[in-house]
């Protein structure tokens, strides 16, 4: 079984003491904690958020830390949330689980959960206590996180750009292809996306989804064609049976969507076709 984050009430970090009860947020109340961004968390399979404050240094007065512990449905959802938030990672060498830490926030992936330790005052002296808290939250080394990115061609991929896409909000970071869940991910199917830097500042974006069913992939291609037709900023290319669905975007970039069995691959910003 994948180790998960320790429950917040059991925490007893070396230098931090729980202050008050944990506050729990459900999918229906998450917006009360993260107004702006809750939808993306939910797409990844959000189950519950527990928030608790800690004081540091006994009677040290105002010094405090906060822990936000996101319980996700599965390790893939936790990885998706972590990758959306981690940026360029700056880990502490003493902390084993995948994480990044700054003066104000520590973000950690632990099995099927993600923890954020916040140091609201930005007091550098509290960073060791943040790391301590994180260590207590994930005491056993978790299983290696899942690696869903095999669907993305490795050549030329910027690894730091990889993301997991489980709905339209996640997709929007890479592409706008109509309104609603055009890729019909529904939070249950997942796709992966990444960037491929090219010459002269060009970037190729790829989104790949394995639907496990060729019919489902074909259905999404039709929905995509509808979306391209409806978008005033996209110009659909000619339809040719057996060829990819093609269009150009507002910046005259060449784009296509193709299916290979159950796998849909969307490419945005393809190199210009030779004349």
């Amino acid at each position: 079984m994948t180790p998960s984050l320790a429950a917040l009430p059991l925490l007893a970090a070396l230098s931090a003491t729980p202050a008050g009860e944990a506050v729990v947020y459900t999918p229906a109340t998450l917006v009360d904690r993260i107004d702006g961004g809750a939808e993306l968390v939910k797409e990844h399979g959000f189950v519950e958020l527990s928030v608790r404050r800690y004081t540091v240094g006994g009677d040290a007065g105002d010094a405090r830390l906060e822990v936000d512990r996101y319980q996700m449905r599965d390790p893939l959802g936790a990885l998706g949330l972590y990758l959306d938030r981690c940026g360029s990672e700056t880990p502490d060498p003493t902390l084993v689980p995948r994480h990044t830490v700054g003066r104000y926030q520590l973000l950690m992936l632990c099995g099927d959960a993600v923890a954020v330790v916040t140091n609201p005052a930005g007091d550098e002296a509290l960073v060791p206590a943040m790391v301590d808290l994180a260590r207590d939250l994930c005491p056993r080394p978790p299983d290696p996180p899942p690696d869903p990115f095999g669907l993305l061609p490795a050549r030329g991929l910027d690894p730091s750009s990889r993301r997991i896409v489980r709905g339209p909000v996640g997709l929007a970071a890479f592409a706008t292809l109509g309104d609603g869940d055009v890729l019909r991910l529904g939070g249950d199917v997942h796709g992966v996306a990444g960037l491929y830097p090219g010459p002269e500042g060009t970037v190729l974006t790829r989104v790949v989804v394995d639907y496990r069913d060729a019919g489902a992939a074909a259905a999404v291609l039709v929905a995509l064609r509808n979306a391209v037709d409806r978008d005033p900023y996209l110009v659909a290319g000619p339809l040719t049976e057996g060829a990819p669905l093609t269009w150009t975007d507002w910046a005259s970039r060449r784009c296509e969507a193709r299916i290979d069995g159950a796998v849909l691959t969307i490419s945005l910003g393809l190199p210009a076709e030779p004349r």
Partner: protein
């Protein structure tokens, strides 16, 4: 590859949609609930597949009111001044004198005149001046108290009494968390348009009325017809929505502070993103001057930023926009995400909020590209700025914006 069925329905979208519905019925029956909402035509998930309907608002009522003498974009449309000084930030501490000097330099450059003279151009000593701050994401990306200190210093030097200044935002508790408390700003009024309430002081009374309801103007509202604050996805219940948003109909009432009290507004926003767009000048007011906004995010989002700025109490009183960009967050907003925050060491000023957001958006995109962060530049994330230009609220065409970078 394009399957044969796509080819066959190329010119008959309605027929094709109908066919999809029938197929979805079958798939829904076979696969469970995943596609059922589409089948039934009554989506229960927040990411339903139907495109949003066109929403009727009362923008026409706003634009029918003749513009006031101070209406945006003000005396310097399309002009944005950015002043950068690394000395404003040392080891995480903000240097207030440097920030004050940056503001002075920015104002001089914007107006081509001494800040004292500029005060006389924009204000009188009798004005009640509201400084709209953004308290989300302290201590990095919330508006910093030192920036507001600098503005108060300028205003009082021009002759405005301290008790003619109101630091305000929509929520009282968030103001306090960001350091905007009376003891920090003696003599200055600090006001949230509404209270958030807590366990000891519920925001909604036993009759279902929000305790802050009286603070909103029943005669001035933003209408979004058919978009009520009831049943909004993401809220535990309609009661929970009411607690946060005061009213739950299809009208968002403006704060009385804005419509009846303030005579001038200074808009101080952060430098941060919200999804693929920005939460800088226009969003700080678009979602900050009125209640019942939770219902607007999904169907209207950026459109609100344009249309609320066209409302006379905002359009005719907003005389200056400032971006606190001592830190800048290019991803993960509107909440704080330290992993995406950079020390930017800058202040921006403009009388034109549209030009300011246009410049900010471009710089936010550039920051993302420089760091390999995914970028989606679909025009829908900036079209609201062009809509605002069409309404005469500012300049969105980069070719007509003068971006002055100092030093």
């Amino acid at each position: 590859m394009v399957p044969r069925e796509v080819m066959a329905v190329r010119d008959d979208r309605r027929t094709m949609d109908d066919r999809w519905s029938r197929r979805d019925v079958i798939r829904g029956l076979a696969a469970g609930a995943a596609s059922a909402p589409v089948v039934l035509g009554a989506p229960s998930r927040s990411w339903a597949q139907e495109p949003p309907a066109e929403v009727r608002t009362n923008l026409d009522q706003f634009t029918a009111v003749p513009r006031g003498p101070h209406a945006i974009p003000g005396p310097w449309p399309g002009r944005v001044v950015q002043v950068t000084d690394p000395a404003c930030l040392t080891g995480g501490a903000i240097d207030a004198p440097t920030v004050a000097a940056m503001l002075r330099t920015a104002l001089e450059s914007l107006a081509g005149m001494d800040p004292g003279e500029l005060f006389g151009r924009l204000f009188t000593a009798n004005d009640l001046v509201g400084i709209k701050v953004n308290p989300v994401g302290p201590p990095l990306i919330a508006v910093h108290t030192e920036v507001v200190d600098a503005l108060i210093g300028w205003l009082t030097a021009g002759g405005l009494p301290r008790d003619h200044i109101v630091i305000w935002d929509r929520f009282d508790t968030m103001l306090a968390e960001a350091g905007f408390v009376p003891e920090r700003f003696p003599g200055v009024r600090i006001e949230g348009l509404q209270t958030s309430g807590d366990d000891d002081r519920p925001a909604v009374d036993g009759q279902g009325n929000h305790v802050s309801a009286e603070r909103f103007d029943p005669e001035f509202y933003y209408l979004a017809e058919g978009v009520p604050g009831r049943g909004v996805p993401g809220y535990d219940s309609d009661e929970a929505y009411l607690e946060q948003h005061v009213f739950a109909g299809d009208r968002s009432y403006f704060g009385k502070l804005v419509t009846r009290e303030l005579t001038r507004i200074i808009n101080v926003g952060p430098f941060k993103n919200t999804g693929n767009g920005v939460s800088m000048a226009t969003k700080n007011l678009g979602y900050g001057v009125m209640c019942n906004t939770g219902r607007l995010h999904r169907p209207l989002f950026f459109r609100v930023n344009t249309e609320v700025l066209a409302a006379p109490p905002v359009r005719d009183k907003l005389v200056l926009n400032v971006l606190d960009a001592i830190y800048a967050q290019y991803e993960g907003g509107p909440m704080l995400s330290e992993a995406h925050v950079v020390e930017h060491h800058a202040l921006y000023v403009a009388t034109d909020p549209i030009a300011l957001d246009t410049i900010g958006h471009g710089q936010m995109v550039a920051m993302r590209k420089a760091r390999g962060v995914p970028v989606n530049e679909h025009p829908r994330y900036t079209s609201y700025l062009h809509d605002a230009e069409a309404l005469g609220l500012g300049v969105a065409d980069p070719a007509r914006i003068e971006h002055v970078v100092l030093p």
